[in-house]
């Protein structure tokens, strides 16, 4: 393998690897569902607000959607902490490396998300302040949505880059990492999933009994709103399958296995009946619109769990050799560290027996950095000090106890409170006699 092999953090994992992997898959799925609702919700709010210019009821819908976005976005962030923590634990050598390689963009996630969230609040909390300037309001919504759409691309780039250590040496900054095989395909797959899952969420959400009262539409029928979301869900599912096939066809071979292929096919196949049921719901009379909703949801919950497992399986496949190599290298390095440490201890012991001049080691440890034998460096040279304090070791000790600044072109000497009086006396003697 032509990849750099770093060493791992030389401390044991805090829990069995399998347990951490299960926690990772579960917490990531929870996180990504809320991310989907946040990104998709923001997108739908924007679309509805633009439609609201012609049909005012859609503007009311846009406001209601924004109310879900501001809740879901907080959950998306807080739910993301657990998978981040576990990735840090399980994949430290890979994840820290890929993060550093796109470091400036990776760090930019923080201000970008903050700005997106603040824009979302301006968008929602000041809704009525914008009544006469809808263009500005839509502009804010568009900026917020653009940020929400862009930020996942940074994450996608990073989690893709960490999988392929052999690509690391060719990466120079974010853009080159983003253009590595498969990032953009996976990103499109993610976007269509965001539209799909937020559509499903809004189908449920607009179907609640309380919704009619909350929305206070003047003309628009709730059933039409729900058809609107059904249509998006239907289209997004087809797009999801298409982009999924593209991702599969272009996945780098490193992580491929029959097990993984089977999992992907199984996950994809789970979504197929949902397409059929959605089509049925869409073409039926209004009162039957929700007939298959539970079955559809069941399909997608199944699909998302299988895909979450498949995703992890691919990661483990791609990194298997790298992880083995890292474990080997770490163990060997620790053996070398131990051996060198023992050798150094033996050498120190051997030195202990030898007679030393009193004050010499203390001088080297505390003073030699700034006081060179002959050259004036940070402080005056030893030669110079000797000339000043000839026959006066107590003078050196007194100065060191409360030092200051003597020469205009050098810096002030710091205090040495940790040196005892005896050591100080020895150092002064050593200075004058050698």
């Amino acid at each position: 393998m032509n990849a750099p092999i770093p060493r791992d953090i030389p401390l044991p994992l805090p829990a069995p690897e399998g347990l951490l992997e299960v926690l990772l898959i579960v917490s990531f799925l929870v996180h990504i569902v809320f991310v989907h609702l946040m990104v998709g919700g923001s997108l739908f709010s924007l679309i509805c607000q633009i439609r609201g210019l012609k049909t005012p009821d859609y503007e009311k819908l846009a406001y209601r959607i924004m109310q879900t976005v501001t809740v879901n976005k907080s959950l998306a962030v807080v739910m993301g902490v657990a998978p981040l923590l576990i990735i840090n634990t399980l994949y430290a050598p890979q994840f820290y490396a890929s993060s550093a390689l796109i470091g400036d963009m990776w760090m930019a996630v923080i201000p970008l998300v903050t700005v997106a969230f603040l824009l979302a609040y301006v968008h929602k909390f000041w809704w009525n302040h914008f009544i006469n300037i809808p263009e500005l309001h839509i502009g804010i919504a568009a900026l917020e949505t653009a940020l929400f759409l862009f930020i996942p691309l940074i994450f996608m780039t990073n989690v893709n880059l960490m999988l392929f250590p052999e690509y690391w040496p060719q990466v120079k900054g974010f853009i080159s990492a983003m253009l590595l095989p498969n990032v953009l395909q996976r990103y499109l797959h993610f976007i269509s999933a965001a539209v799909l899952f937020s559509s499903l969420f809004f189908i449920w959400w607009t179907g609640r009994k309380a919704f009619l009262q909350e929305a206070q539409f003047s003309k628009l029928r709730v059933i039409d709103v729900r058809r609107f979301f059904y249509a998006f869900a239907f289209g997004a599912t087809i797009l999801q399958i298409l982009t999924g096939l593209v991702v599969f066809a272009t996945l780098p071979a490193q992580g491929m296995s029959w097990g993984f292929t089977l999992l992907l096919m199984l996950g994809g196949a789970t979504a197929l009946p949902a397409i059929w049921w959605m089509w049925q719901n869409l073409t039926r009379p209004d009162h039957l619109l929700d007939d298959n909703f539970k079955k559809i949801m069941g399909c997608f919950v199944g699909a998302i769990i299988i895909m979450g497992i498949a995703r992890h399986d691919y990661r483990e496949n791609t990194l298997a050799d790298h992880k083995t190599a890292i474990a080997e290298k770490t163990a060997n390095y620790m053996a070398a560290v131990k051996e060198a440490g023992e050798a150094a201890q033996l050498a120190a012991k051997a030195l202990e027996g030898k007679a030393t001049i009193p004050g010499e080691s203390e001088f080297n440890q505390n003073c030699a950095a700034c006081h060179h034998a002959t050259l004036p460096t940070v402080g005056p040279s030893v030669q110079e000090i000797k000339a000043i304090y000839v026959g006066d070791p107590a003078g050196i000790a007194a100065w060191t106890k409360s030092p200051g600044k003597k020469r205009a072109d050098s810096m002030s000497m710091p205090g040495f409170p940790h040196i005892s009086d005896d050591e100080l006396a020895a150092i002064s003697q050593y200075l004058l006699n050698h």
């Binding site: 032509n2 750099p4 092999i5 770093p6 060493r7 953090i9 030389p10 044991p12 805090p14 907080s74 959950l75 962030v77 807080v78 993301g80 902490v81 981040l84 923590l85 840090n88 634990t89 430290a92 050598p93 820290y96 993060s99 550093a100 470091g103 400036d104 990776w106 760090m107 996630v109 923080i110 903050t114 969230f117 609040y121 040496p169 990466v171 120079k172 974010f174 080997e328 290298k329 163990a331 060997n332 053996a335 070398a336 560290v337 051996e339 060198a340 150094a344 440890q365 505390n366 030699a368 950095a369 700034c370 460096t377 940070v378 600044k405 050098s410 810096m411 002030s412 710091p414 940790h418």
Partner: protein, 483 residues
Amino acid sequence: MDFPIFHIDFIGNRMLIAFDAILHVIINHALAVGALPVIALLEHTGIRLKDPRWDTLAYRLLKIIFIITTTVGALTGVGIWFSASLVNPAAIGSLIRVFFWGWFAEWIVFVTEVSLIMAYFLSWQSAARSAEAKQKHLHLGIFLAAFSWITMAIIVAILGFMMDPGNWLAERTLISGLLNPMYFPQLAFRTTLAMVMGGMTMICLTYLFTRNDFGFRASVLRLVSSWSIAWMLALVFASIWYYQVIPQHMFANIPVAVTTQEFVSWNSSLKWLLIVGLSFVGWVLWSSVKHPGTVHGAKYIASVLLLFAMLGQFERVREFIRKPFIIGNYMYANGIRVEDYPLLQRDGILQHATYASIRDITDDNKVSAGREVFEQTCTRCHTVNGINSIRSQLKKMYGDKLWQSDVIAAYIENMHGARYFMPPFPGNKAELNALAVYLSTLQKRATAFNGVQINGIPKPDKISAATFYGALPNLDAPHGVQK
């Protein structure tokens, strides 16, 4: 050594973390831990007095808290993770291995906290429908305040651990790390400081929101000031306690942390500044309890700023006094473990750094090899040209005199003796000389120093692609495990 080196040469890596972390801790203390109990107190008083003005005020204050904590507050918290994992992955990676379950518990508390603040804020108006619902809503607020404190209590354990690992070095368990000697004093200090900060911040906002109702303003200010002054008394005791447990060897660093070396004596004057500052805040609070309507708003704002400045200074000192370590006695600030030193000082750090591009130092490559040594050993704290730049340090030491590499080398070899906050140099003699040669060239010119986020990493060579240490080139002594 084991991670590609991210580096920003202008603001510096430390400043990146510091900016994010200080902002986070100010928001956390002043608007979450310290402010949420005040909101619950106001809501409670509104219910007790059956006066809707209290309720309206509490809601307005909570709205500000909600907007700031769920955006800048939450994201700067995640930002500490991001920046720490870029700047010192070895350190944060080690802390995560030890404190995983602590952080996992923290996450659960954090999820609860976020859910509670959304529930508390978003259900405020609908809770007005009945007295029973209002009472339940108040309980939500109390729970929220409690969870917000628990989040802080967990993270303080990890901060305390970084300063003094206590028994962990011997035992290496989560509990021994959590119960390190710094824990309770620091928690007491932070809790009381946060309560005073939160109270004072809410006083300022109240002052702003009650411009048209002086009678009401006076009664709110009297209540919140009494609450804050009680915490202020506790804060005085907590600071004394905390000050006493800072280990002695760390004390030696405090004068340098607080001021520059030229002003070592500032330590005592800073102590006085803190005493005077706290007395001022105490005095403002006391007059606010006695004559709440008469204290000018500027005094409240001055108090808040003083408290923010004290907190910022406290964090700076706290971060500094753990030096030269990033994890006390285990890992130096350069990300290299104490245990690694004998090996690296014998073989050279470039022989073991996964992402170095030069392994052997020759007469021809001294400057570029020195630059790599600089990258591996100095850049976690120093920039070339930006904040805390190595150029300004050398200039302070040698001024316009010619910067001589042998003098610089002699200095670096011994500097940890004279400068307690500096780790010992981790490489071998040849690397020390190369580093000194590189540093001496900086007197005349310095090319911009970029991290891997711009330059990328070198192609893997024999050393970075190998998994064993027995057959590395140029390692004289037979060591490592042969496969």
